[in-house]
Subunit: 125 residues, 2 copies
Amino acid sequence: MQTIDNEAVQGAFRALADPTRRSILQLLAEDEMTIAEVSGHFDMTRAAVKKHLTILQEGELISVVPAGRERINRLEPMALKRVSDWLNYFNNFWDQKLSALQKAVDEEQSRKSIKRPSGTPSKEG
Amino acid sequence: MQTIDNEAVQGAFRALADPTRRSILQLLAEDEMTIAEVSGHFDMTRAAVKKHLTILQEGELISVVPAGRERINRLEPMALKRVSDWLNYFNNFWDQKLSALQKAVDEEQSRKSIKRPSGTPSKEG
DNA sequence: TTTAAATGATACCGTTTAGTATCATAAGGA
DNA sequence: TCCTTATGATACTAAACGGTATCATTTAAA
């Protein structure tokens, strides 16, 4: 079990665990916004949204750039890539299993078309 | 903002937020195991590990199959794909932004090689 | 300079979470 | 049957979480 997992990954997954924060990310994917603008999209206080933005920032999913008295919140693509990379660890395994399943199905198919066995289950749990 | 996000996605992200659970997934990627076997890999009680497995199961990241008095815990690839799909929502945006950045850099380069302006910053924040 | 807007910071509250300890149940084996 | 093993289930605790209310600070603007 290698070190695919680290503090940055933890921060990102922690941030992604909350639906409001995922929603904020989707907002910011369309356009960067100030805190007030982001707040305008949610039924909660600005302080609550600000907390979410802080956690997103800690997870490096967004960057916050001061502009006068405002703070521009902007999506940080690389953090999402980190998560994507983490998931990729499993790609081998799941591709492998899916292709094994596919192969099993195929073989079952051809076996059917030759011998037509009767005890074949129609469904797999 | 479309419906890329739903209960299944929430369940998966919730499950992924904990480092022990991510670690369990990596274990199960290598081999399916009983609850006792999974527990053997961690410094906490079997009950605690069992709770993690339940949350992983609720997020449909693993499936649990009874085998006699044991329960075989097995990775469920499709849930990880759900998360991957969610991340893909951002691919357009981040690819787009990265390529926009690349383009800006390229244009800056060619502008330099023609006019060689003096006020050009050497670094970009 | 005075005022209003945008944000930062902190204290507080109810709920969820991660963990423990403990007891009950089910199934395999002597 | 009796004992042991694998698991289920519940009550409990400390910490983290999501949210509110409130006050301080910074900056734009009249």
